[in-house]
Symmetry: C2
């Protein structure tokens, strides 16, 4: 058997024990991992230096993500301790119904089982993802970016040792290291319940097209801000600037600005703020006319701009004649990630919330808020842009499912089918 | 454009209006459909006679499912009226958190969008599925079995006319009629959010392997009953008989009986009840020895029996030495559908509930209870054996997703990143 097959089988076996483990065991393991990472930090930092040396010719942002230092460690430890203190997401009774006298149905949250996560070269992500899976009682197979290989191996070794000593079942977490491991994982639909790929759009699609295992991930992040006719110019400038420039490479950065034909002042204010920040503006003819009249530099947009995920200091701008035209544009060209309306009109906001088919629908704030930490989930295993299972940033509830528990006293369906007994269907919870 | 492409596009357009429709409109449409079906019943019965005539050489159970008469109509009307009275599953606020002063995040349930359902030759299923989708604000594409073609067309025509007159958006429901339509549907991942195939295992797998659209369905129904060492023989006989014979062709019928080595009396009682009902028993060597000593007829099982979904009057029997061996057998050979333990020991039941990885885990009752109607959901759009999104019978919550709504006053991430403001993450709901 290949390594990945062995790891997946071990994870499956461990998943049954983990699903039945008390909350205290999982919380104690999280605290033990925190303690061990703190005690073993010099080994981890040394491993990280190896990765950083090898990454010398990579870009500054990549190196920043790759770095694992005291500051990153402090964040990781805070995250582990916060997670340990959180309420247990599994074993929660979500509903209870008496089906017939003495026959009671409950729905109870439970782990999904075995989750495979493929993530970028950010070593802190390894601990975050593993700890969210552990808290929710899931076994996990981890494959990080190869640039972080030494750091990941050091972190994994510390985490594994501490968690097994704290009583977790052997094999609950597995570290995969090669591309062949990823390919192998895609075939193991018997032993892996879910794959969460984090990375480029093309990569996520490649995974989806090559496995029978359910995949939760996001495709593009083509996010919109729409300036409604009453939009305040100062707010437009501030929020659009933040959405575009606070971190342009993120999937929740804004890519297209839609502007009501009457909101010309807001368009000029936002355009000027963007241009001053060095943002390239690609505008349709009507927006160009407004911006040119105010001496804001811009260039003509073409049809391909409406679907573009720039991920840099570029934005497209289009003028629309109504709220409904803005909504139709977003549903047609967007990626169902996060879209925002700037307005003081509550009716317009409500219509926008109800009709825009996206994981996040915002009013008067930056699209950059779409993130597990900012949502108060502690961290995220990923962001889902699909509508099945989970949507948006996935915290500790993302890796949870539920099961139905039915308890009787020898009850048969025949008794109820032939009328000797009747269904009561009384809601108890 | 092909018919199915036109129907899917229309459904997508309608889905936005439907998602924003008030609960009253959807409830009124359900009542209008009920009234129109009652008023138009003679046309529908006439269409059904055509289908029944053409089905003359089919089996009695198939003809029974195909028949649409006063009794089936009464059930359908009762279902529609019950659904109209139910609380709205969409627009429910599931959580609310203040992220920072004045910036409030809500999670609100919403429809999935457009759902394609492929179902068996049972005309009442058409109305049940369409009405569950309508109640939950989803547009639906319906493809029923061709044996029910005339009845489906008559039902659909009445339903469509009544619902449009009640104010639903044109195109919210579409009727597909050919196999080419099903193939066409599988390619429309832009306009269809979810496919629910009901039918044989091979058919469901074929759908899963040929589309990028998420599929919710069930694979096999290999359900188990485990007789624990303290199991009462009378209860064993009663519950096992019901699980196997009350309707053997259903996916929730029991296929394998696991028996603790000390529960020989229960094994004999269950075996005798099964044999008396004409059930063929395929037993492992230890079970054979017990049954033969009690003069209960049986034949030797082989390894293939543990994965068999007989769907007829056949059952496999295996003796195990412990609860954990039974659990391991179920997790290894079962299909994660519904599994039951017969015991009075609460600790054993709890261990079984926690460790058996199935949608339904039962104590002291028949596996045949796994069904949307019996669970009190009114009806079901399908049963899911996967662990993502929905699990078990899916009622009106099956076709629901959620979205995050964030409302602010010009809030930027930059203010929070640079420390001018701080996250509060105060749970409000």
């Amino acid at each position: 058997m290949s390594d990945v097959r062995v790891a997946a089988r071990a994870a499956r076996e461990a998943s049954f024990a983990l699903a039945a483990s008390p909350s205290e065991t999982r919380s104690a393991a999280l605290l033990a991992i925190a303690g061990a990472l703190e005690a073993g930090k010099e080994t981890i930092f040394a491993a990280n230096r190896l990765d950083l040396q090898a990454a010398d010719d990579l870009s500054a942002p990549v190196k920043k993500r790759l770095r694992f230092d005291e500051a990153k460690l402090a964040d990781v430890l805070a995250g582990l301790r916060a997670l340990a203190a959180m309420e247990d997401p599994i074993g929660r009774e979500q509903m209870r119904t008496e089906l017939a006298d003495g026959l009671v149905l409950s729905r109870v949250s439970c782990p999904i089982g075995v989750i495979g996560v493929i993530f970028e070269s950010r070593p802190d992500a390894l601990v975050q993802i593993a700890s969210l899976c552990l808290k929710s009682g899931n076994a996990v197979l981890l494959k990080g970016g190869r640039e972080a290989m030494h750091t990941n191996e050091a972190l994994f070794a510390v985490m594994e040792k501490a968690s097994l000593e704290a009583g977790l079942p052997a094999g609950w977490a597995g570290l995969l290291t090669t591309r062949e491991d990823v390919r192998g994982m895609l075939e193991l639909d018997e032993d892996i319940d879910l794959i969460i790929p984090r990375g480029s759009n093309a990569f996520v699609r490649m995974i989806m097209d090559n496995t029978r295992i359910p995949v939760l991930g996001h495709s593009d992040g083509v996010c919109h801000i729409y300036l409604h006719e009453d939009c305040d110019p100062e707010m437009a400038a501030r929020v659009v600037l933040d959405g575009k420039t606070q971190y342009p490479a993120a999937c929740n950065a804004v890519e297209t600005l839609l502007v009501h034909a009457h909101a010309t002042q807001a368009l000029v204010a936002a355009g000027r703020a963007l241009a001053d920040a060095g943002v390239r503006i690609r505008a349709d003819a009507r927006a160009q006319a407004v911006l040119a009249a105010a001496a804001v530099p811009c260039e003509p947009a073409d049809a391909s701009d409406w679907r573009a995920e720039y991920l840099d200091l570029t934005i497209s701008v289009r003028v629309v004649d109504s709220l409904d035209e803005a909504i139709a544009h977003i549903n047609r060209y967007g990626s169902h990630h996060t879209d925002c309306i700037l307005t003081g009109e509550e009716d317009a906001a409500r219509r926008f919330f109800a009709r825009v088919d996206s994981a996040g629908v915002y009013q008067n704030c930056s699209t950059r808020f779409a993130d597990g930490y900012r949502y108060g989930f502690g961290a995220e295993v990923g962001i889902a842009t699909g509508k099945l299972h989970a949507r948006g940033p996935m915290g500790v509830e993302g890796p949870c499912s539920y099961k139905y528990i039915l308890r009787g006293h020898g009850d048969t369906v025949a008794q109820l089918a032939d009328g000797r007994r009747t269904f009561t269907h009384q809601k108890l919870l």
